[in-house]
């Protein structure tokens, strides 16, 4: 099947199998390997991207479902050489260690701050609760998002 998906502002048209997952479309067709894959059951969230501005687990979306839609991945956060505030926040507050969960966390954080510029700790924890991190114990992820809100 042919799909056209706008990713980070650019349209991409590709011939794909109907069963192709969006995460594999991004990684294998477009070579956008910042979006990761980590589980078979839609639990880990390392595949999180924004679909029309809303965070989704791209392992749970078929590429054909994204046909005609807009996707933002971690590669799309930096604009004109300027890092997004969430990227700066994570760097300043040590919000990442191995970096595997980070792209997904950044996209959820961006979405949260777009809706709620100054979230409290509980709101942040809830927003990222569908995404696992095995390294940070979440503490510095929360702080990073709080810091991003100030930037």
């Amino acid at each position: 099947m042919q799909v056209t998906i706008t990713v980070n502002g650019l349209p991409y048209t590709r011939e794909v199998e109907p069963r192709l997952l969006l995460v594999h479309f991004l990684r294998d067709e477009l070579n956008l390997t910042g979006t990761h894959w980590g589980c078979d059951t839609s639990n880990c969230g390392v595949c999180t991207v924004q679909l029309d501005g809303v965070p989704v687990k791209s392992c749970t979306v078929l590429a054909v479902m994204a046909d005609g839609h807009e996707v933002t991945t971690v590669e799309g956060l930096e604009r004109d050489g300027e890092l997004d505030a969430v990227q700066k926040g994570f760097m300043e507050c040590h919000g990442l260690q191995c970096g595997f969960c980070t792209p997904g966390m950044l996209l959820t954080a961006r979405w949260l701050l777009d809706r709620e510029p100054h979230p409290d700790e509980g709101t942040i924890r809830e927003a990222i609760s569908g995404q696992l991190c095995r390294c940070t114990g979440y503490e510095n992820i929360v702080k990073s998002i709080q810091r991003a809100a100030e930037l």
């Binding site: 070579n31 910042g34 589980c39 971690v74 760097m91 260690q97 095995r134």
Partner: protein
């Protein structure tokens, strides 16, 4: 910037999605592999029919145990001198075991083709419960090993049995408690995988694989496959978490290599999550029976332990050859005892192999859990506050270096100070008062303490090895003419931030900015030999190697500086100037500090036409190998506060105070981050993580739906404190910290929950303390957490 909170260099790529993990490696013409796994825990393989899979238009090869047997590769050595099937030939011995490997043009087709392979199995009775493994009528799992008639792997003991028994015989008070440290899995978010590329023309094999020990892998591949070691290059790219699960070699890696040799093209193999949970290294699975002898006024005299260790179907634990139970015999913990003794029996069961994996410091985790639970049981028996009981028995500063009853030499410690700091931060007395109020109202609140001593930084090479390879690590430092440096180390980061911490060490020693130091790691063609990163050994071992190699460079620089300043090297003093711009080092003439040469000036001169005295080579580069004289012994005091809902059994971790002493902290930001992660692990293991099995050996935790990991909602905001007791033998006084919190936190959480349940007369409950389990414990009807067997 020298030591201190420097932002991480590696973040620049990770926050942009520019990390390079193994699944991001793409080579021209690359094929994709997938593994067919056993649905049975124990079964004889009668036949395998691969013809339909081979006929699939996108399949390029199908490899079975028989194919491998032809190459003498059907079995590979494990890290404990056992053998493990790469692809099963005779029997399958755990659910999820590797049976066949398909190589196809793309990953989806490879998976499709797995469905086309027909395997005829004859199911056999499975040994699931370790406590039944040695029964007379138990099926023998390892009938592949000649002469083996039972599932016993080893019996091992440590300590002084007679002295311990004598103390028990005369003790005023004794207590005993059975406990299970259930089977868990480290579950890094990146699963395991490999890309193998064998170049037929040059004979060179390159393997990209997220390994914590790339050099050990290279040597093992050479030994297993008979390939010359200089023709093997192992590249460990960015790793999405390891936690011990990425130390060993998995069958999939060997399959990818064979796939590349057979097809002449690069082959990628990536496991999925259920494969990761079912077949890669588990941790723990220790069934422990502990006893304490004490005086009535709370002086602990001796500990006696029996352990049944479930090693799964192949003994694959990664631990020094001398120590089949790892460092478990450090179980006397942080206390001043007269004697101790342990007996450990290792058995085979029909479960995945593995062993020490999961940030456990070679089973110090199990040891600390045991002793910290026993102390609380003793406190309950004596009617003493568990903090008070610990304070009475903790080692005193003047007892260090301290030789433990089982032979460990603790390097340094000031335990009581650390314990008091944790109690102060927690407001311990107030918490106890609050608890008393709540109890009076029928509410369940618990306060749990754990005091741990870790044993990390393995190790002195004469005692510590993996398959005969001594645990010493190399470092190589080059200083370029402009004074910028490249450090090459044998250890490999899985998120620990080595590129930053090690650059800081070089910057500190050479007096140059850490930003001027590039750290190269994870590529065996580019780095010196060493055993890698696990057991919190990077800073204790490679960090020490880095400091020493930098000091060698500094001494070489002194000779060049002397030539520049036309004086004797003995007349020079090393001088460090701290300023807002950072730290600048120079060699200065004694008594004339204005006559000096900075490291940058010296580096340029060392590469110039400057005439050097006889015997001075020029250039500044140096290499070293660091063989630690002893382990390092970080320690800490943790206090956890929980609230338990008596109606549902739900546990809420309200507060968690952690005071860690890991000696000198090179980058406190990174140290704290590692502690946070380990604390979350502890909460996870104590409350939710377990790999249980049913009586047929079916894995009941093979997805993230069933194997629960803590999220941001289960974790409190961690409250940290620090004390600094430098290690006397480490060149920087550092001790290592990566695993401390994973080791120390589970008993604090369990002690807190058991404390909350004290009104019901409960003294112990096994992990994980899920709502269902806690509720059953309250009803006086606890269930087995590790097995779903009635």
């Amino acid at each position: 910037m020298s030591f201190g909170r420097m932002h991480r260099k590696e973040d620049a790529r990770f926050i942009r999605g520019r990390g390079n993990y193994v699944d991001d490696v793409r080579l021209p013409g690359m094929l994709h592999g997938a593994i067919l796994r056993s649905p049975h825990a124990h079964a004889r393989i009668l036949s395998i029919d691969t013809s339909a899979a081979e006929a699939h238009p996108k399949v390029r090869a199908v490899i079975t145990g028989q194919t491998l047997a032809g190459l003498n590769l059907a079995w590979m050595p494990t890290l404990s001198n056992d053998v493990q099937a790469v692809l099963a030939t005779d029997k399958v011995r755990f659910q999820g075991q590797e049976v066949a490997f398909v190589v196809a043009e793309d990953a989806y087709s490879a998976r499709d083709a797995l469905e086309l392979i027909e395997v005829d199995y004859e199911p056999l009775d499975a040994v699931v419960d370790a406590r039944r493994a040695l029964d007379e009528d138990s099926p023998v799992i390892r009938d592949d090993l000649e002469g083996r008639t039972s599932n016993r792997i080893f019996d091992w003991e440590a300590g002084d049995r007679e002295r311990t028994d004598a103390i028990f015989a005369g003790a005023e008070v004794t207590i005993n408690q059975d406990m299970i440290y259930p089977r868990v899995h480290p579950a890094p978010l990146e699963t395991c995988g490999a890309v193998a590329d064998f170049d037929k023309v040059t004979g060179k094999l390159t393997v990209w694989c997220p390994t914590q020990a790339p050099h050990a892998h290279r040597t093992l591949y050479a030994l297993v496959a008979g390939l010359p070691e200089h023709k093997i290059r192992v590249i460990s790219p960015d790793i999405g978490g390891g936690f011990g699960g990425k130390v060993g070699i998995y069958p999939g890696y060997v399959c990818a290599i064979v796939g590349s040799i057979v097809t002449g093209r690069p082959v990628k193999w990536m496991e999925d999550r259920s494969e990761n949970l079912m077949a890669t290294a588990f941790a723990r699975d220790y069934h422990m029976s502990g006893e304490v002898a004490a005086t009535r006024d709370g002086v602990i005299q001796a500990i006696r332990v029996k352990v049944l260790a479930d090693h799964g179907a192949f003994n694959g634990t990664a631990q020094p050859t001398k120590f089949p139970a790892g460092f478990f015999h450090v179980f006397t913990g942080s206390y001043d005892l007269q004697a101790a003794h342990c007996e450990v029996t290792g058995v085979y069961t029909n479960k995945a192999p593995g062993g020490v994996a999961y940030a456990c410091s070679f089973r110090v985790t199990e040891a600390v859990y045991l002793v910290e639970r026993l102390i609380d049981v003793l406190a309950a028996e004596l009617g003493l506050d568990p903090a008070e009981l610990r304070l009475r028995n903790l080692l005193k500063p003047d007892q260090f270096p301290y030789t433990s009853p089982t032979g460990w030499e603790y390097d340094s410690g000031d335990y009581i100070k650390t314990m008091r700091m944790a109690m102060d931060i927690a407001g311990y007395d107030k918490l106890r008062a609050e608890q008393a109020d709540k109890r009076a109202r029928g509410e369940l609140m618990g306060i749990g303490i754990s005091f741990f001593t870790e044993a990390v930084g393995a190790g002195p090479r004469k005692h510590m090895d993996i398959l005969g390879l001594g645990m010493a690590d190399g470092a190589e430092l080059r200083v370029h003419p402009t004074g910028k440096a490249v450090l090459r180390v044998s250890c490999q980061s899985q998120g620990q931030g080595h590129e930053t911490t090690f650059a800081q060490i070089v910057g500190h020693e050479l007096g140059i900015p850490a930003d001027d130091v590039e750290v190269v790691h994870g590529d065996t063609d580019q780095t010196p030999f060493g055993l890698g990163t696990y057991g919190s050994r990077s800073t204790p071992v490679s960090g020490a190697a880095t400091a020493i190699v930098a000091r060698k460079v500094r001494e070489r620089a002194r000779l060049v500086a002397a030539a520049m300043l036309e004086c004797s090297p003995d007349d020079l003093d090393w001088q460090i100037d701290e300023s807002a711009e950072g730290r600048a080092g120079s060699w200065a003439v004694r008594g004339d500090p204005a006559s000096r040469k900075s490291m940058q000036e010296i580096a340029l001169a060392a590469h110039s036409a400057l005439e050097l005295p006889d015997g001075v080579e020029g250039h500044l580069d140096a290499v070293t190998v660091y063989n630690p004289p002893n382990l390092t012994y970080p320690f800490g005091a943790y206090i956890c506060v929980v609230d338990v809902d008596p109606g549902t059994g739900q546990v809420k971790v309200r507060r968690f105070v952690a005071v860690d002493d890991c000696g000198v902290r090179i980058n406190p930001m990174i140290v704290e981050g590692q502690i946070h992660g380990g604390l979350a692990d502890g909460v996870g293991m104590a409350l939710m993580q377990v790999m249980a099995f049913d009586e047929e050996g079916n894995h009941l935790g093979a997805s993230f739906m069933d194997y629960l990991l803590p999220t941001s909602m289960e974790c409190p905001s961690w409250e940290l404190g620090e004390t600094v007791t430098p290690s006397p033998h480490h060149p920087l006084g550092a001790k290592g910290v990566g695993e401390s919190a994973t080791v120390g936190s589970p008993p604090a959480v369990v002690n807190a929950v058991v404390d909350a349940l004290a009104p019901y007369g409960i003294r112990h409950a096994d992990m994980p303390l899920t709502p269902a389990n806690v509720w059953r414990v309250i009803q006086g009807d606890p269930f087995r957490t590790d097995l779903a067997i009635p």
